[in-house]
């Protein structure tokens, strides 16, 4: 039979596999075909069709023996920030040229343990630093959604390849990572669902670090149910990560259809910013109305330090990154550009190996940690972070979840925001506070703007209350009934 993966969800594909409507080998073959047809999107850095076929075959054998796991036979693609054993891992950076890890990240190992199949490695912003996937050494990713006049748009970032793969329909689910919005913002810009779990929920072991205190991996899928399924497999305590939380992972599907009756949903007034996009504002109002209609109580809340989240983030994240990226020195792996002595070798390697945005962030991070500036910048930012977290703690005494827009705008044309770094940073204005507070955040596609481009709504939850987020997200998803798909122009 012919399978169109773009019409499937993980849940429906699992059903098809269970009912023997198709095998994983057939499903995987269809995904490989679709992936290869989608090359114009530049969503992949490395395709691993042979590995995928092998894994699919093994999956079919497991299923035949009645040993199928939670995600058995489901073809997924992996953001190229996750180290995958024996498979080129680049972080979309020149500096990791030729790097083949001898190890597998805990998060992806968990997916393979659940039976999933790997299609390959997804493009991203270099070292996950960016909001448009234009900083990749391997070139920008193109959003499957096009502008009114057919102009090429960015998919958002940093998990731009991830979002594009799901939106284009060649992967049923993908992994993303989110340091300041890198799962949620591209999910919104590509019309898909993505969840950033609570900090500590998914192990960071084996994921190339950007900013250790903010990084969190999560799934990106077509539906809320699919995100719940994938998160179920990815999450869990990992003794190899000191920041991994030793808490049982609840059954995320158990109460997914539980609805929002009696729940209190907070609307932070500080998120209504001056000059806010009218369509975004309208969608937010619509979201409120949907939840209210479904029986939730809408509560006006106050997150007074919201305005300072972005500046605090652009100190903390680069500071950590400047240190995390010091290991890329041309000695043990990746690129080495020769020099007359050790220092020159370092400078040549790093000067050539890192792209502009990464260099900017290393420079800012180095500066804010340096003697004489540390307290004014880094300590100050960490204090502000404490205040931002307190804001949320106070709000969550009154509400079960918070509803906001995911991004301040829809997908924008390539190159539109590359001239000024700060303009690009503003894309994360609604998502960054969530990372600073370590909270879970979910983006659900909720509608199209006047140009026919998808927009997302964000739900923010209490620590480790992903189940609640998914439940509210499912209600929103049902109400929004977002069924629009981009035209497969790349196949022409």
């Amino acid at each position: 039979m012919s399978i169109d993966p773009a019409t499937l969800t993980i849940a429906s594909a699992l059903e098809g596999l269970a009912k023997k409507e198709f095998t994983s080998v057939e499903l995987t073959e269809a995904c490989i075909e679709a992936m290869q047809a989608a090359k114009p999107l530049n969503a992949m850095i490395t395709e691993t069709p042979d590995k995928a076929r092998e894994m699919a075959k093994a999956s079919d054998a497991r299923r035949a023996k009645g040993e199928a796991g939670l995600l058995d036979g489901i073809p997924l693609a992996i953001k190229d920030l996750f180290c995958t054993e024996g498979v080129l891992t680049t972080a979309a950076s020149h500096i990791l040229d030729g790097f083949h890890p001898t190890y597998e990240s805990t998060a992806t190992a968990n997916l393979w343990k659940a039976g999933a199949v790997m299609l390959g490695k997804l493009n991203l912003d270099e070292f996950a630093m960016g909001s448009s996937n234009e900083t990749s050494y391997y070139g920008p990713v193109i959003n499957p959604w096009r502008g009114k006049n057919g102009e090429k748009l960015v998919p958002g970032g940093s998990s731009g390849g991830s979002a594009a793969a799901v939106a284009a329909g060649f992967a049923l689910g993908v992994t993303g990572t989110d340091t300041g919005g890198s799962i949620r913002q591209p999910a919104a810009l590509c019309g898909i669902t993505g969840i950033k779990p609570t900090y500590g929920r998914v192990s960071r072991w084996g994921i190339v670090a950007f900013a250790s205190s903010l990084d969190q991996a999560g799934p990106m899928t077509r539906t809320v149910r699919d995100s719940a399924l994938m998160l179920q497999a990815m999450a869990g305590f990992d003794p190899k990560d000191s920041t991994s939380v030793d808490l049982p992972v609840p059954d995320y599907l158990a109460n997914l259809e539980g609805g929002v009756k009696g729940l209190r949903i907070g609307i932070p007034r500080e998120y209504r910013m001056d000059g806010m996009d009218r369509e975004i504002e309208a969608l937010w109002e619509q979201g409120k109305a949907w939840l209210k209609e479904a029986g939730a109580e809408i509560v006006d809340i106050h997150l007074p330090h919201t305005h300072y989240a972005l500046p605090a983030y652009y100190i903390v994240a680069p500071a950590e990154a400047s240190s995390n990226l010091a290991r890329y020195d041309g000695v043990r792996y990746g690129l080495r550009v020769p020099g007359k002595d050790l220092i020159e070798m370092y400078e040549n390697t790093r000067g050539e190996g890192f792209g502009r945005e990464v260099q900017r962030r290393i420079m800012i991070g180095t500066y804010v940690l340096s003697a004489g500036y540390y307290d004014a910048y880094y300590t100050k930012a960490q204090k502000v972070r404490t205040l931002i977290k307190k804001d949320f703690e106070q709000a969550f005494q009154r509400v079960d979840a918070i509803l906001t827009p995911t991004a301040p705008n829809a997908a924008f044309p390539l190159g539109a925001k590359t001239d000024d770094p700060v303009t690009m940073y503003l894309n994360d204005v609604f998502t960054v506070p969530v990372n600073l507070a370590g909270l879970p955040g979910l983006s659900v596609p909720a509608g199209l703007n006047g140009d026919g481009l998808p927009l997302g709504l964000q739900l923010i939850g209490k620590p480790f209350d992903e189940a609640m987020l998914l439940r509210v997200g499912r209600t929103l998803e049902k109400a929004a009934n977002f069924t629009a798909r981009p035209q497969a122009w790349w196949r022409q």
């Binding site: 180290c83 240190s323 043990r332």
Partner: protein, 486 residues
């Protein structure tokens, strides 16, 4: 400070000020933040985990035992244990520093202020302040002499747990610095937290040296890095102090810098690779959380501490009647103290101390063996001392017996029996010998009786000789006095 400690320069006296940062490798099976082994002497890069090689995405997880060892050391140094401490990243680039940062403790170390008592050779003591102790990772090793154009990097040491023990600038000469290092090593060995093996690099010292005119504020200091023996520490200080004094007396000024001790030339020189101004950009390691210690755990560690050298020394002085000097010699190594205590059990403490320190240590050194290998056990030495105590043999003769014990491995009683060395205490027999000696030296007897009393020693010697050394010296003395008196 006593004036004898000043160095006389061309223009007057100078005082040397010394502080030390000692890096002591924690005795543990695995590394501080990874599960790789720490054993000395492995093949290059064979004790390296992905974490130690700083592979992308690798994360540190702390070794509980290393934390325990740091706490134990802190308690041994009578220091404050900080129940809340923080691991920071110290950022700098170096070929053998794979992460591009060292995980260390900067503002909030696990151990705060403590003290260390120096046992001076004259029996007095001197207190040196301990500023702090913190846990950190060791770096790997660069080998510069394997190839003309390249340095080779071995990461086996990368990530090994170190305790950095920082002293106050309380030392005033090379001797004190040497004593400090030795005493610190003794304490670490008693505690079992570091093997103190300087040849294998388990203990290294960074020595801070400055000079000043007596009474003036501290001068600019130079740090001499990675000195790996007590002797080198002392030589480095002597050289460095002279160097600084010469510069100052010539009207120059000291540059604060890192220097290297060249062991072959006995000089310190500026380290080229460290010349560049450092900005370590310390910040709390976001891969680790603050370290919180359970006070009950700390208490449990405190209760498990062994008796430490200072307490042992005090007990030896108080309960066993030893001189402070003898006591400090015996407690310098736990093994020696244990040996001594085994010998002294139920015997005269002072007599045993003399035997252990002079005869036993002397013979041990000559043998080149370790205490465990050496043929003289506490039981054997005790047996010999028992024969002295019950007058079976004289102290003098006991030395010969001891030499034979070392030589043959036999115990004292057997040797005395076999060689017929039992002491003669029978006064009749001794009187007989004395009579013979007096008869043979009638002229000397006359001189003695005429007042030349110092001849007494001569008669004792002759009598002992004639008895083959077996006559009881006390009885000889007494009987001679009587007989010579006429």
């Amino acid at each position: 400070m006593a004036e004898k400690d000043y160095i006389q320069g061309a223009t007057g006296p100078w005082e040397v000020v010394i502080g030390m940062e000692v890096h002591a490798q924690v005795t543990s099976k695995a590394k501080l933040f990874s599960g790789a082994a720490t054993a000395f002497g492995a093949e290059p890069n064979h004790q390296v985990s992905l974490v130690d090689a700083a592979m992308p995405g690798m994360l540190p997880v702390i070794n509980r035992y290393c934390v325990e060892q740091a706490v134990r050391t802190g308690l041994g140094l009578k220091a404050q244990i900080n129940l809340h401490s923080v691991f920071d990243r110290k950022n700098y680039f170096y070929a053998d520093l794979p992460q591009g940062y060292q995980i260390s403790q900067y503002k909030q170390p696990i151990v705060g202020a403590g003290k260390l008592i120096l046992d001076m050779p004259d029996g007095s003591t001197r207190e040196i302040g301990i500023t702090r102790l913190h846990l950190e990772q060791d770096a790997g090793k660069s080998l510069h002499d394997q190839s003309p154009r390249e340095s080779f990097i071995d990461l086996n040491r990368s990530g090994v747990a170190l305790m950095e023990i920082v002293s106050e600038p309380d030392m005033r000469n090379a001797e004190e610095a040497g004593l400090y290092l030795k005493k610190l090593r003794t304490i670490l060995r008693y505690l079992g937290t570091c093997d103190g093996n300087m040849e294998e690099g388990s203990m290294r010292a960074d020595v801070n040296v400055s000079v000043r005119r007596p009474g003036e504020p501290f001068g600019t200091r130079c740090e001499i890095k990675n000195v790996n023996s007590v002797r080198f520490v002392q030589q480095a200080i002597e050289y460095e102090a002279r160097r600084q004094i010469e510069i100052l007396e010539d009207g120059g000024k000291i540059d604060q810098e890192t220097r290297l001790f060249d062991t072959s030339k006995g000089i310190t020189r500026s380290m080229r690779s460290k010349e560049e101004a450092h900005d370590y950009r310390y910040f709390p390691d976001p891969d680790l959380l603050p370290l919180e210690l359970d006070p009950a755990w700390v208490e449990q560690i405190r209760k498990s501490l062994p008796e430490l050298p200072d307490e042992k020394k005090a007990r030896f002085i108080e309960k066993l009647g030893l001189s402070p000097y003898d006591a400090s010699v015996l407690v310098a190594e736990k093994e020696s103290a244990d040996f001594y205590e085994a010998v002294a059990k139920g015997r005269d403490g002072k007599l045993c101390a003399n035997w252990v320190i002079t005869e036993y240590f002397g013979a041990l050194n000559k043998s080149g063996k370790s205490m465990a290998e050496f043929t003289i056990t506490p039981e054997k030495l005790g047996g010999l001392i028992d024969l002295i105590a019950d007058n079976t043999i004289s102290n003098r003769l006991a030395k010969d017996v001891f030499a034979l014990m070392v030589e043959t491995g036999k115990d004292a009683a057997t040797i005395v029996e076999e060689k017929g060395m039992k002491q003669v205490t029978d006064t009749g027999a001794i009187e007989k010998v004395i009579d013979e000696v007096m008869a043979a030296n009638a002229d000397k007897v006359a001189e003695y009786r005429a007042g030349k009393e110092k001849l007494f020693g001569f008669f004792v010697g002759q009598t002992m000789k004639a008895s083959g050394g077996k006559a009881n010296p006390a009885a000889v003395n007494e009987l001679l006095k009587k007989k010579l008196a006429g």
